[in-house]
Symmetry: C2
Subunit: 207 residues, 2 copies
DNA sequence: TAGATTGTTAATCGATTAACAATC
DNA sequence: TAGATTGTTAATCGATTAACAATC
């Protein structure tokens, strides 16, 4: 029903609401959220109606209530645990990124094949890849991040799937084949920059 | 004319072609590229026709030729220089990420407000934010990455714009206001994970 | 030639926007 | 009550897919 773009927008509304909360706002209109998220007010109301979120005609939405509803949809009513595979630049950054913890996402462990990277006894350990399946099963983890080189990514994905991972964020610059029952979202930094380059050039070449 | 999704696909085709090149493939069909990029063959041909890229009926496309054409569209026929603002986890990762250099993108310098991070005399320096405008103008740089906390992001964007930056990749979890003539693409790691969480839950709740 | 693949047009699909009655 | 905002339906817009004539 809801598509990717819709959920990304919900996430933005949620972030905007958090800021409004710290400013002690009590009510908010679709118009305000539209501004904050860079969309139209109709879009905001349409998105809400898809999830049965209702406000008050004339009075808008209560910030607290709306925030709770969005948090629930986005799984923020419970701690989400994630594993990161590949402790290179990107993997390490996510591993240590404080922004996730603040939002209820815990990076439970990192994995690599390079013994130099191991840190077995930490509360946030870095473990050998061979230990992935046991760890993921033992902790009932369903989310993972792939931050390994492209040639290793498909193999790592299959290992993750066999461990029970259901959702994957893939930073490797390759399109992975995932079966039904598993979601793979790709973030390709090179593609993002190439995209930027194309549109900046297009702007300059008039129009 | 072309939209974001289309350019992201071109980037994927290009990456697939590079892999085919290393395998010494000479020709490729829309069908093969479709598989590699996870789209339909019609989509591939439609994308190419948008850019006047033609192949050979019956014989497909020449790998070398096609690769050159895509590289040109994506600006890979010249070195692209980028600055990174914010030397936290994400900023540092991009700063040191080798994958970009391999693809003709050079991170020319990093910027921060924390003196501890400065590294002025390196060939890839980390400089105080006050030096951004001069550096960017001096090097004719038009691309930048924002990797600062959300509350600082809008201010940093405006500084970048005043320096002449035209394309921005924003990792701060906030929707930035950019004027005409500047492109801002957002990558929000928290949103990406929330997206994953939503769809994994949706899968589990039957359909 | 016969067969396979392109290039493009038309059809479909889905998402966004506009509009407005309901109503607080 | 009068005015403003929601919730939803219908209209629009744009992107993807299907189909097939052209042709190598």
């Amino acid at each position: 029903m809801a598509n990717r773009s819709c959920i990304i927008r919900l996430s933005r509304y949620k972030n905007a609401l958090n800021r409004l909360k710290t400013l002690n706002f009590v009510r908010v209109f679709s118009d305000n959220l539209a501004d904050a998220a860079g969309v139209t007010a109709a879009q905001v109301r349409k998105d809400f109606s898809l999830f049965g979120i209702t406000g008050n005609r004339r009075g808008g939405y209560k910030v607290d209530e709306l925030s709770d509803q969005l948090n629930k949809i986005l799984g923020k009513d419970q701690l989400q645990e994630v594993v990161v595979i590949g402790m290179g630049n990107i993997g390490k950054a996510l591993f240590h990124y404080g922004g996730l913890e603040k939002s209820g996402i815990k990076v439970a462990a990192g994995f690599d094949i390079d013994p130099v990277k191991f840190d077995r006894d930490s509360s946030q350990p870095v473990l050998p890849l061979e230990g992935l399946v046991d760890f993921v099963r033992g902790h009932n983890i369903v989310l993972g991040v792939i931050a390994v080189p492209d040639y290793a990514a498909q193999q790592v994905l299959e290992l993750m799937l066999s461990a029970g991972i259901r959702g994957v964020l893939n930073f490797a610059p390759i399109c992975l084949k995932a079966p039904e029952g598993c979601i793979v979202n790709n973030i390709n930094l090179e593609s993002e920059l190439e995209n930027l380059i194309y549109f900046v050039n297009a702007l300059e070449d008039g129009k």
